[in-house]
């Protein structure tokens, strides 16, 4: 029986299938269809049927990741959305937080809200922070709102009332009345998407959820119809931003949970590789064409970002949303990133990218500016003849010519300039990798480093050495790792809610009770009896009194004030380097992570037959390692023929269809029986 995943990226739609009966793997690629992404998905399925004989009727599980949600938001192509909110507060969505991160720009403006002022309506009602009704819901206020929504042909209505995280009663009444009066519109209340406080962030969350809801609904309907027409009938799952999957119906109710669908697949895959290797601390980097994304897996689980913001940069406030999103730090360095010399004479790499068209200069499709890929060709890491499995011949002369355009002004040789480009991309990746580890209180030396994406394995061993990680890992299927990761993801839901109490014996007892209430909610969400295997993880955000932000720590039903406090002190110290043992502790947020256990992809053991070093050698190539070391001859191996569990000393290159890995001098490469490549420093010995 086949488990199938499709990942729609910016350029390509990737397909990975895994036959549980015999371990057979199907892979295919098609061009992404931007108008309706489901067409590209079906094209990939057709390609796999034609090339490898994929039988859709044998598919028993289908997971899908895509960019429909994020595209609708970034291109501002959501539906006509209205907002209904507490009287006195309709401008909250427009005011935002009023911050001006672009400090010296006297023409700065906050981002435009997704609902214009004339579609933001007010209703008299009020709760206080404790969830007590201060002013009852004024039903009569809805009549003119309903009339206006009809006149304006509103397709989606978002509802945000103050303190609904503490008591959703008024939102519930309002949803019921509006849904009945506006059958043609979707109606969505904030408490159904987020149970956290901060009215602007929750408004923005429910507004964006409403803004994309009809679009994702129609998209899933189209995709389902098309899959059924292809005889592919099985449960359909969507890849969520939290690193888990949900059914199409669940995703339609909260489409904003799909906002970082694609990258989350890679994170799920990295967690799975970590599990197979028995490593709970994993640092993951995926190097794509335009950007690189890194994330941390701690104690075997992807880390979630506590304040995720769309379109946020150092100088743009972005749009905060309160949905669980894996903590991904994205930087503008990828294979297509363009190198240039700025006005102050400094060499810069990215964020501008050559993309896939014209692409790097070496693609010979008209690109003339030097990219990271050109640099990797120029110093010998990428083989012009075998790139992309030999399907695309690279033009070394064009790469060198492009790099010469910056080498001249820098007074460097072409190979030194190429290395300089790599060095700069490398440094920004290190900064990002440190952001998710060191700056969050995690030591990269405790982690293994998993790298994926087309250009990733070429840079992996250098990055791993600089970070002094336990080992650098190049997983199988590195070039289609996000899609592969979707087959490693399990159904997951996160229940996070603001709940405030000073730490006490009673508060801990109340927490335990609230968590068991959330467990029931989780069981209902998965529509399962309570005895199905749901894996729960209990986390509580706590802080020192006076602080606003806390740290998340584990919670167990047997916790005492002492045991819980000690855990908080330790977590606070790890994150921020100090503890305040005499300051009272407060609980602010509870978070239940619920994972429905089910089968996931495994990496079958490889047969050792025919795998020897001699069989694996394809040839030799010279690679440039800098002025001091110069050019070194490196043997080139075929990944598919590498012997199992045999240490091979670098420098060396390993080629496979979608990527090339470089192993540095002084490093040892070894292949596990599951086909995972592990790179370690020779001096430190193998485990």
């Amino acid at each position: 029986m086949i488990r199938l995943a499709t990942d729609v990226g910016g350029t390509f739609t990737d397909l990975v299938g895994y036959d549980e009966r015999n371990g057979r793997l199907f892979t295919a690629k098609s061009l992404t269809t931007t108008q309706d992404q489901s067409e590209g998905v079906l094209n990939a399925i057709s390609a796999s049927e034609a090339a490898d004989g994929l039988a859709t009727r044998d598919v028993t599980f289908f997971a899908h990741g895509g960019t429909t949600v994020i595209n609708a938001i970034t291109e501002r192509k959501g539906v006509r959305t209205a907002l209904v909110t507490t009287a006195g507060f309709r401008d909250v969505l427009e005011i935002g937080r009023g911050n001006r991160p672009d400090l010296y720009n006297l023409q700065f403006k906050s981002p435009e809200p997704f609902v214009p002022r004339h579609l933001r309506f007010e209703v008299r009602e009020r709760m206080d922070a404790g969830g007590t009704v201060v002013l009852p819901f004024e039903e009569a206020d809805l009549a003119p709102i309903i009339a206006a929504c009809r006149a304006e042909r509103i397709e989606a209505v978002a509802i945000l009332f103050l303190h609904s995280y503490a008591n959703p009663l008024h939102e519930e009444i309002c949803v019921r009345l509006l849904a009945a009066a506006l059958p043609e519109a979707t109606v969505c209340a904030s408490h159904a998407v987020s149970r956290q406080w901060r009215e602007y962030e929750r408004s923005n969350t429910v507004v964006l959820n409403a803004y994309v809801q009809p679009i994702i609904q129609r998209y899933f309907e189209r995709l389902e119809r098309a899959l059924m027409a292809r005889d592919l009938t099985c449960p359909y799952y969507a890849m969520q931003s939290n690193g888990g999957i949900s059914t199409f119906d669940q995703a339609t109710a909260r489409p904003l949970t799909l906002v970082e669908s694609g990258p989350a697949g890679g994170v799920a895959g990295a967690a799975c590789i970590g599990r197979i290797l028995g490593e709970s601390e994993v640092l993951h980097l995926d190097v794509g064409g335009t950007t690189a994304k890194c994330s941390l897996i701690h104690e075997g689980r992807p880390t979630l970002n506590v304040d995720y913001k769309l379109e946020h940069t150092r100088i743009a406030p972005g749009h905060p949303v309160q949905v669980p999103v894996v903590d991904i730090v994205e930087i503008g360095s990828g294979g297509g990133s363009i190198a240039r010399i700025d006005t102050q004479g400094r060499l810069r790499v990215g964020p501008e990218s050559a993309g896939s068209s014209p692409g790097p200069a070496c693609y010979g499709r008209g690109g003339t500016r030097p990219t990271l890929t050109d640099a990797l060709v120029a110093i010998g890491i990428f083989d012009p003849d075998s790139f992309a499995g030999g399907t695309m011949r690279l033009d070394v002369a064009k790469a060198s010519e492009a790099i010469a355009s910056i080498a001249g002004p820098l007074a460097m040789s072409v190979e030194d300039a190429a290395l300089a480009i790599i060095e700069i991309a490398h440094a920004s990746m290190i900064n990002a990798l440190k952001l998710v580890t060191v700056q969050r209180g995690h030591d990269p030396r405790d982690s293994v480093f998993i790298i994926s994406g087309g250009a990733g394995p070429a840079l992996a061993s250098r990055l791993g050495r600089d970070l002094a990680v336990k080992a650098t890992i190049v997983p199988p299927h590195s070039g289609i790792f996000s899609a592969w990761g979707m087959l490693a993801a399990e159904p997951r839901a996160d229940f996070r809610s603001t709940w405030f109490a000073p730490l006490s014996h009673e508060a801990l007892a109340a927490l335990a009770e609230r968590f068991s209430g959330l467990e029931k909610e989780a069981a209902t969400y998965f529509a399962k009896d309570e005895d199905v295997p749901i894996r729960f993880l209990y986390q509580v955000e706590a802080r020192y009194r006076g602080q606003e932000h806390g740290v998340f720590v584990g919670f167990s039903a047997g916790d005492t004030v002492e045991s819980f406090s000690e855990r908080l002190h330790a977590a606070h110290e790890r994150a921020y380097a100090f503890r305040l043992t005499t300051t009272p502790v407060e609980i602010t947020t509870m978070h239940l992570e619920a994972v429905l256990e089910g089968p996931v992809i495994t990496l079958p053991a490889q047969s050792p037959a025919g795998r020897t070093l001699d069989a694996a050698v394809k040839g030799e190539r010279r690679v440039y390692f800098g002025k001091e070391t110069g050019w070194l001859p490196c043997p080139v191996y075929d990944r598919l023929a590498l012997p199992i569990a045999q240490d091979i000393l670098g420098p060396l290159l390993v080629e496979e269809a979608t990527t090339t890995s470089l192993v540095q001098p002084g490093q040892l490469l070894s292949l596990t029986e599951n086909g995972i490549m592990v790179i370690r420093e020779a001096g430190r010995g193998a485990r």
Partner: protein, 562 residues
């Protein structure tokens, strides 16, 4: 194996600069997430920076423009004070307004970062403390007439030696502030940030060698200076002037006339404030450090707003002003509300230079942070202090309408306070948080942005308030035929009946259910309102931002029959 040394300078340079920005940003994250004061963690009223061993700023987080010029002056003052008597593990504390600081509430924590027994750099963190003692809760009496009413001053002391706290300083601090637990919590948070900086700089020095790092600092400053000089050279030489009025000093409402003369000569800028009046009785004076910040903010906006800031950009700049003026106050002139004065120094430059580069400027804004303090005891008897800067309307630009509800120039990455969080923490209920549509904005081909209205109902029996609002009479200027913006004001609506209106007010008794209403103004317009496109006017009318009568009277717009 490629390594840093084999790569020519420009690459190492780029890498080290990236690391500097990453370090100051990391300091900021640690501060925001561990601080105890809402004014720090919610409003982000703090900033972090890295300076050379000579006290020249090389990197600064995106915090607050006010600290753009103060870091360097403060660190240089400490270097002069301590000379060679600094050791690894020392951490310094200063909040002296007259040696590069701002007001006593801003605590600067400075750590010399030693590598191999030598100072490689200084890390600084300046944060606004909730209370540092003095005559009123929150320490900022709007009618203070001397610095001695504005709280404890610690003008350059070692708060740590050999990485251990000096208990005497902690005892002095705890005994002299109203909320010692919060102050000590914030001190811990600040120290955590400069320690982070120490670790990162040590990593950098270990990788590239301290001399390479120092060379990178020098090169960064020199290349920023070169960019600045090139940008100034491209501006027309000449003498540019502007005048403005500060609306009262907190002691009296008398207008305070201020002026600047700017000379652009080849690649230099001279900002001369000679002619400004002597320091006033009330606390809207600023000292020379804050004046430097105020001027540098606009120079950076003029030259290159987005490039990371450092001292190099300001080497072509001279700021002239005799001592003892409203912008160069000296001990014991009060400076508690210094930003109410210093913002006018910024705006004088802004107003004078805007015609030189309209693509970088906007018309006048609401300017004043309109800070309100509400303090008292809740019904359990626990004391509270709620401080909040307010957002307001900015001026129009040649191309776009002004920004609404944005924080004033003197702050920066400064957030408003979440209504839900306030209500969970203080005995306050927010009745309304909205754009100040009724107050209007400066009309123009591009109109100003709207201010805000924020209404607090006080839910405790024991409460009082004070505030200091500027631009209550002298309105934000319009440009090129655009109209002036509108005024800021504080209203108190008494539960017992009656409404009073204030600007700078030292003390207001507040009864339960009284309403404190903060109203900030709209920005100035740019261009003739009669030239505004019908589509823009129609959109404003539809959004309820401009009344139909106003559309007709001011913009000459008659709606098509519908």
């Amino acid at each position: 194996m490629p390594s840093g040394q084999t790569i020519i300078d420009s690459v190492t340079q780029e890498i080290i600069e990236g690391k500097l920005v990453a370090t100051v940003d990391e300091m900021g994250i640690v501060m925001a997430r561990t601080s105890m004061s809402p004014v720090i963690y919610e409003v982000l009223d703090f900033a972090c920076g890295l300076l050379t061993a000579d006290g020249e700023l090389v990197a600064q987080m995106n915090g607050i423009t006010l600290f753009t010029g103060t870091f360097g002056v403060q660190v240089k003052a400490l270097i002069a004070q301590f000379g060679g008597r600094l050791a690894d593990g020392d951490v310094l504390l200063t909040n002296d307004p007259y040696t590069g600081g701002t007001h006593a509430c801003d605590f600067a924590i400075v750590k010399p970062l030693f590598v191999d027994g030598e100072i490689l750099a200084y890390a600084i963190n300046v944060a606004h403390y909730l209370d540092v003692g003095g005559s009123v809760p929150g320490s900022l009496a709007p009618d203070a007439t001397s610095v001695f009413q504005e709280g404890l001053r610690l003008p350059g002391v070692k708060v740590m030696r050999a990485d251990a706290f000096c208990d005497e300083i902690l005892h002095i601090l705890a005994a002299n502030v109203r909320m010692p637990q919060i102050a000590l919590g914030d001190l811990n948070a600040q120290i955590a940030t400069v320690r982070v900086a120490g670790r990162r700089m040590a990593e950098l020095a270990a990788k590239y060698d301290a001399d390479v790092v120092k060379a990178a600092f020098a090169h960064l400053l020199a290349s920023s200076e070169a960019s600045a000089r090139a940008a100034i050279l491209a501006l027309p030489d000449g003498v540019y002037t502007a005048t403005d009025v500060i609306d009262g000093d907190g002691v009296t409402d008398a207008p305070i006339d201020v002026t600047v003369t700017i000379t652009i000569a080849a690649d230099r800028i001279i900002a001369d404030f000679t002619g400004c009046p002597p320091a006033v009785a009330g606390p809207i004076n600023c000292a020379r450090g804050a004046l430097q910040s105020a001027v540098k903010t606009i120079v950076k906006a003029l030259i290159d707003p987005q490039a990371p800031s450092n001292e190099g950009w300001f080497r072509p700049l001279d700021v002239l002003c005799p001592p003892g003026t409203v912008f160069t106050a000296e001990k014991p002139s009060p400076t508690g509300w210094y930003y109410e004065g210093s913002v006018h120094a910024s705006e004088l430059l802004w107003k004078a230079l805007a015609p030189l580069k309209p693509g970088r400027f906007s018309a006048g804004s609401y300017s004043s942070l309109c800070v309100v303090y509400i303090s008292g005891r809740d019904d359990t008897g626990a004391p509270f202090i709620h401080i909040e800067p307010q957002h307001g309307g900015w001026g129009a630009t040649p191309d776009e309408d002004g920004a609404g509800a944005l924080i004033a120039l003197t702050d920066g990455d400064t957030y408003n306070y979440s209504v839900e969080v306030i209500e969970a923490r203080f005995p306050l209920r927010v009745r309304r948080y909205a754009l100040n549509v009724e107050g209007g904005t400066g009309a123009g081909r591009r109109r100003g942005g709207f201010g805000i209205i924020r209404e607090y109902e006080v839910l405790s029996t024991e409460a009082s308030a004070y505030a200091s609002f500027g631009r209550t009479k002298t309105l934000p200027w319009g440009v090129d035929g655009g109209a002036e913006g509108t005024a800021n004001r504080l209203e108190i609506e008494r539960h017992a009946g009656g409404l009073d209106v204030h600007g700078r007010v030292a003390h207001l008794d507040i009864a339960r259910h009284d309403i404190v209403r903060i109203v900030t103004g709209g920005g100035g317009g740019w261009g003739d309102p009669k030239r505004r496109e019908a589509s823009r006017i129609a959109r404003d009318v539809r959004d309820g931002l401009v009344a139909r009568e106003l559309a007709l009277d001011v913009y000459g717009y008659e709606e098509a029959a519908s």
